[in-house]
Symmetry: C2
Subunit: 188 residues, 2 copies
DNA sequence: GTCTATAATCAGATAGAC
DNA sequence: GTCTATCTGATTATAGAC
């Protein structure tokens, strides 16, 4: 038997899971380490054994999302022959896979600063835009891309309780429509 | 001369303006009354003369937006003959008029709880949905509406620095496309 | 690996002088 | 209408025992 009182197989993962729960319920800023510790049944000090700070704990939750999204963008840029509908479907899937982290960001966007996400988000927006309208898009194109993918975010967030297999094709239709891809409107 | 040391014509309005500034920069939760007072050049206690609590201060900033949006929905429901493009344009204008409050909500969504906005937002979503797909929408319709108006929100937020007269018509096109209004796709 | 105990700071809010 | 001064409680983080 070890010297510790709890025999959790992976306290670190449990901390991350409970922290994410609370970040979604209350937002990052409004969630204290005390609340996280209480819900698990350990003390606050135990959290500091696993993570050097609250920001580092949050970062560890967001990193898998960043890695997944970067991989999607790398692959999409390497295969320009893929259809818009395929790309949109993949973007939807990435979002759904990391719905937890993503929802926490929607609930309290100020988490972005604590996790240095702020540097990434700008890059993501640019690369995503590049996939659909190329570099130097017009204001008309920028607006349509912003609505298309901003809307995709909101749908994944708002419609979390609806069946994914029904939402997914509807979302792809809507994003295509917002972009105006199939009507040629995007060439403005 | 009055007994007060500052001769601001309307300290109450100044408090609201500075508070909104900081809510946009840092989010509601991360902004302290001390910071608001410091930026104006008064003490924290002075704030409590004008507002009974931090939540009430926030509420006073959001109420004009609520009133404006309610008025828009009332009018839209009373005039079912108005075209979708007109309605979308009006919705865009309401958002732009209250871009400050709206941006604060995007930066830190947890403000919704403190302002009792949470009861309103559900009602707004339902009424807005009703304008375009009627009651009892299918999942397909719900998804397209969520993307259309979620995207509209994001565009107003993300493209704040772009000229409104160019963004506006592009936004209307994109929302129409996301809804699938002009292609008849919404009848699913 | 988790604990107790505590430091240092900052939060929202209030009482009462002027 | 604004101030000084203070209360109360919560916060992040650390030191050191086990």
């Amino acid at each position: 038997m070890s010297a510790s009182r709890r025999q959790s197989p992976d306290t670190k993962a449990e901390i991350q899971a409970v922290a994410l729960e609370l970040f979604i319920e209350q937002g990052f800023t409004a969630t204290s380490l005390q609340q996280i510790a209480d819900r698990i049944g350990v003390t606050k000090a135990a959290l500091y054994y696993h993570f050097p700070s609250k920001a580092d704990l949050a970062r560890s939750i967001f990193l898998p999302w960043k890695d997944d999204l970067d991989a999607f963008l790398d692959e999409a840029e390497a295969h320009p022959e893929r259809s818009p509908r395929e790309l949109i479907g993949d973007a939807f899937d990435v979002l759904v896979r990391h719905r937890g982290a993503f929802t926490a960001m929607m609930v309290d966007g100020s988490i972005i600063r604590h996790v240095d996400l702020i540097a990434w988000t700008g890059e993501w927006a640019t690369r995503l835009q590049g996939l659909f309208v190329g570099p130097n898009p017009s204001i008309y194109q920028q607006t349509r891309v912003a609505i298309a993918f901003g809307g995709l975010n909101d749908a994944v967030f708002l419609l979390a309780q609806l069946p994914e297999e029904e939402v997914r094709p509807a979302a792809i239709d809507a994003v295509c429509g917002a972009l105006g891809i199939e009507t040629g409107e995007l060439d403005n």
